[in-house]
């Protein structure tokens, strides 16, 4: 089965991406300011709500059961159809865009408004529809900014987090010139937001088709859940005559009752609120006599690599609800931001999802290089997804599949063999003490043979001590027995 690329073939190597991110002072200042605040919001929200932890555990269990139950998808599709909607399965971006283009052709539609959806990024839907002459407008403020700037999202909750207000103003100035409309007068946040409100309002009112993602889809009732703070999803779902929801097959949950525990999870864990501003539940197109809402309601269930994760040790990754909590606490993400991942899904969850949805060959750098195994993400994750455990498994798999340079594998294998026994360890230390004389500068090791040379380029390494603790201890113990 072919899947859309999660990472592009001409993706730059990690050191290049890392270097670029670390050089971007503005990006790092913004990340430093915003991410800890969101992370603290989560902690405070739980502290202020004693029942929240119990609800979270129930929500987690329901999600685990749901992703292990492949029968739910058929039930969900039947329920959507029973309420007058249309349900279809698509395997990849090509099929999703073909489905949409067919609707557009039938209805003579040319303009699409979209609310934020990571799965459509994954499917490269905007590019595909654009190539077919369909104009797609992103309407989430952050997505709007990066669409105008021609960039990729850098955080699942705040896609334009890498830009500051004056950079946003520049984007809007260019857009205003291109659209022939009045430009924002300053970089005041209210002024910038008002510009977006005015411009997007016109798009909402004139669009033919609305495209959304979905936070959850209830198999029992065919109800689509959309959670936003801006209210753009409610524009997209009620103003155009057609609403197409594009949801990953893993978003299906079993029963309406599950929502009690699930609905608060994204806001509680992402930003520390009990609920987002808008939690919208859509169960079908408009009724006879109803004026608002779409005439046609479609749900496309996307596989794009998901079903191959089922029934593997990585299955729990599918329970992710994209709350962003792991991004907010990750020490690596806090330094480099989302673009450094070079993939649609950044952040800790992206480092697992990306290689699993595409291939380890394309993306083994993510679980290897962008994780320190600090476990901060596990503690923050409402679904208790053990990402570091999966990263280690992916690292092992990369070695088994021969994806590592021979020199590297050889070095680590040799190292492992020496350190397998106390004797080997002691011999290696004695050898290192001899060898390090060549590289010692002012009490530090600079350079070294093989991998060590590269490693010490950006790091300080203390030399092996004249006498190690072990040696000292041995000497002391011997002295005692005397």
């Amino acid at each position: 089965m072919s899947t859309a690329p999660q990472v592009s073939e001409e993706r730059e190597p990690w050191p290049t991406r890392r270097y670029r991110a670390l050089q971007d002072g503005e990006l790092r200042r913004t990340l430093e300011r915003v991410l800890p605040r969101m992370a603290e919001g989560r902690v405070r929200a739980y502290e202020g709500d004693p029942e929240a932890e119990v609800r979270r555990l129930r929500a987690r269990d329901r999600r685990r059961e749901a992703v292990r139950n492949p029968g739910l998808l058929d039930r969900a599709m039947a329920a959507v159809e029973a309420r007058g909607g249309r349900a279809a399965r698509v395997r990849n971006g090509e099929e999703a865009s073909a489905y949409l283009l067919e609707i557009a052709r039938r209805r003579g539609a040319t303009r699409v408004v979209k609310s934020k959806s990571m799965v459509t990024e994954e499917l490269q839907l905007n590019r595909r529809l654009g190539e077919a002459g369909i104009e797609v407008r992103e309407t989430d403020l952050g997505e709007y900014i990066i669409q105008l700037a021609g960039e990729q999202p850098s955080h699942i909750l705040a896609p334009a987090i890498h830009r500051n207000r004056s950079q946003v103003k520049d984007v809007f100035l260019n857009a205003a010139a291109a659209f022939g409309v009045e430009a924002p007068a300053s970089d005041d946040l209210d002024v910038l937001t008002a510009f977006a409100r005015r411009e997007l309002r016109a798009d909402f009112l004139s669009a033919d088709i609305g495209v959304t993602g979905g936070n959850f889809l209830v198999a029992e009732t065919g109800t689509l859940i959309l959670i936003t703070n801006e209210g753009n999803a409610d524009m997209v779902t009620t103003l155009p005559d057609v609403h197409v929801a594009i949801v990953g097959i893993e978003k299906v949950v079993e029963s309406f009752d599950d929502l009690v525990d699930l609905l608060p999870i994204p806001a509680m864990n992402g930003v520390g609120r009990r609920l987002s501003s808008y939690t919208t539940m859509i169960s079908g197109p408009r009724q006879p006599g109803q004026i608002e809402g779409p005439e046609e309601f479609h749900v496309l269930f996307v596989d794009n690599g998901r079903s191959k994760i089922r029934e593997t040790p990585f299955e729990e990754v599918l329970t992710c609800i994209r709350c962003g909590a792991c991004y907010n606490v990750c020490p690596v993400f806090r330094q480099v931001g989302g673009h450094a991942y070079g993939s649609v899904y950044g952040g800790p969850i992206g480092s697992a999802l990306t290689p699993l949805l595409s291939s380890l060959r394309q993306a083994h750098d993510l679980p290897e290089s962008l994780c320190t195994l600090c476990h901060a993400c596990v503690e923050a994750c409402p679904m208790d997804i053990d990402l570091p455990h999966h990263f280690v498994a992916l690292r092992e798999q990369a070695v088994r599949e021969g994806l590592k340079p021979t020199g590297m594998s050889l070095t680590y294998r040799t190292w492992a063999r020496w350190w397998e026994s106390p004797g080997g360890y002691r011999r290696s230390i004695r050898l290192a003490r001899l060898g390090q004389r060549l590289y010692e500068r002012r009490g530090r090791l600079t350079g070294g043979p093989g991998l060590l040379g590269g490693w010490t380029k950006t790091r300080d390494m203390p030399p092996v001590a004249r006498e190690t603790f072990g040696e000292w201890w041995e000497r002391r113990e011997e002295g005692r027995h005397d």
Partner: protein
Amino acid sequence: MTESPLVDEFSARWTSLTGTVRDGRGTDIRTALREVLSNLCPDAGPVLIFEEPGFPIPEMPEWFRGFGYEPILVRAGAEGPVDADGHRWERTALKAAAARAALGVSTGAWAVAHTGSVAVYGDRDHGTWPSLLPPAHLILLHTDDIFATLGEGLGRLQNEPGGIPPEVKLITGPSSTGDIEGQPVIGVHGPARVGVLLLQRT
């Protein structure tokens, strides 16, 4: 403070999200409306009012006219919503009317005290556009529709006699974003100001 802890909890939560609450019980409702307007929409302008069957304050359009506002009435009818003269609303016309309104008025189906949320329905007899397109939204809420928890609210929804409506929107505060520098800004697409007028069921 009122005699009801649920109403108090709801009001405190709603207010903490920058919403306005005015208790219209046991007082002159017209005066209460006037007061809530001074917060929500002080300048007279078009007001989109969706009247579902059994709308709690039938005099409301007249009151708005008296205050100098221009009421735009959407009244549920047997075949769908009609205007003040009983003519069927047409979709494009209603969209345009909602888009130019300075205030939207609708009745909350139920509310949740714990989260400070109000549910509004979108079906043949209820509309969500008053809560979406105007820059301010006024919700009429019967205090006996306030539940303690989200679970109780969703329970009510599942037991609606007409089934689950095609659209249900749980509103928890104003339209907001943190997309630029993570700084909170309200009123990005939907209403920046949201108010609740509490009513006694008669």
